[in-house]
Amino acid sequence: MMSDLNKLTIAGARDALRKGDTTSAELTEACLTAIEGARALNTFVHDTPDQARGMAAAADTRIKAGDAPALCGIPLGIKDLFCTKGVAGQAGSGILKGFVPEYESTVTQNLWDAGAVMLGKLNMDEFAMGSSNETSVYGNAVNPWRRAGDDTALTPGGSSGGSAAAVAADLCLGATGTDTGGSIRQPAAFTGITGIKPTYGRCSRWGVVAFASSLDQAGPMTKTVRDAAIMLGAMCSYDAKDSTSANLPVPDFEAALSGDIRGNVIGIPREYRMDGMPAEIEKLWADGTAMLKDAGAEVRDITLPHTKYALPTYYLIAPAEASSNLARYDGVRYGHRAKLAPGDGITEMYEKTRAEGFGAEVQRRVMVGTYVLSAGFYDAYYNRARKVRTLIKRDFEQVFEAGVDAILTPATPSAAFGLGEMGSKDPVQMYLNDVFTVTVNLAGLPGVSVPTGQDAQGLPLGLQLIGRPWEEGDLLNCAYALERAAGFVAKPVKWW
């Protein structure tokens, strides 16, 4: 029997399973043991060990029979946002306490059809609204990384903070995430792993609890670019149950990983060079640029003039859509219902239920969204934001039309910060975390975060590559070239 099976990559485990060097049962047991030993990270919030063992046994039978798909027998963690039939999930919110979905999301169904094993549900910011996993009803997920010589608890990022921490700590081989404004890419960068948000429409949103429907996309969070390619391929499909699902063939993303990017044109957008950007992030970006150049790419300075307006556009459109989507939590069909006083009617039931069930950040966004959509402000706020969104997308279209294949930017403005360090006085400070990632959601483009360096305190830092719509294969190949050149192999020192 091989040791440290939970530390394998998906590709490594696949090869070992196919050769008969290990079994899914052994792999799964190694992950379940690692999860038990890592409660301090607060990543897994609903465990499914019995289901995992059953799925592993079925996968082993399938592997023995031959011709099993790449993900067959691979143990994964699932973000709490995905509905999983018969398994509790509450999107990190108190308002969905006790909710047990009667149906399976299309993305997770695709994973189970491919033979993947479900270990449990992962911590996240409430309704995916947050950049630090601090808005979760389950409490903070904790980053397995720490600053050198310092035991301050750090955020794994958010909203897919539990997914990122679980993958970085080798509790699972990969995890699902979702990304509305950077919720896959920012936590991936904070934990030294890879995360890709595909083109809007690649992954079905059916059965994924909605935050902002025109921005939400699911994607994989993995230890390597190759693993991201394998897992993304299994997650994507055309789905008639999601009217925005793209009816396009899903290519073999792993087959696109040649590592050859000679002749590719990489754009470096000048607007992403922010005032006060830490020198370490500047250097990380310059180093990444040099790596791609050395690999044979042509590097070109580009301009995306409306970048500065992306964050305010996002923090208007996302709450507007959230206020509409979250209207369904009314204490009638599922989840929490407030105890009512004598004489309370249905309005009191709604108001008390939502005040008790939603956390502060979710309440804030629902109310901001309600305000910007209300009579008299709709044109000045919401319609104006939709027009600016058109301009932001046009910026990217013009760059791609001019022959740029991918765009290189930092993934985050800093390394992981301490839990509680960002404070709650000014919500806008927290929103600034998404400055490099929200443009990609607004334009519907694929974006991948790759770990390429560490800061002076030893914390991981990531770069983001942004690709052309539907060209995730080329984008992942570019990320693969960057990964190989950067040679990031650091792992967090186990303290948990």
Binding site: E102, V332, G345, T347, M349, K387, R389, P427, Y431
Partner: protein
């Protein structure tokens, strides 16, 4: 644009979220911070720009207007905090 406590109370009401009287001032301040931040959009020239309807240029698919699913009453009610006799039960709506 500055939000006062009366506006904050109105927005809370529209959102169907109970906010206690003594929390309205802090809420109004938070709104002002966030709206102050998104106010920068006013400086963008959007003359002649179409508001985005869909991020991908794709026609929404259509299907025949027929029932494709149903007869799942128990499943639909299974998560309700107030199901009774095959229905969702709520406090009295009509006097």
């Amino acid at each position: 644009m500055s939000i006062d406590t009366a506006t904050a109370a109105r927005v809370a009401k529209l959102s169907r979220i109970r906010v206690e009287e003594d929390a309205l001032l802090a809420l109004a301040e938070e709104f002002n911070t966030i709206l102050g931040f998104i106010e920068q959009l006013a400086e963008v020239d959007v003359d002649g720009v179409e508001p985005m309807v869909s991020v991908t240029l794709m026609r929404l698919p259509r299907r025949a207007d027929v029932v494709t699913d149903g007869y799942q009453q128990a499943k639909i009610l299974s998560n309700s905090p107030g199901a009774r006799e095959g229905f969702f039960a709520v406090p009295k709506v009509v006097e």
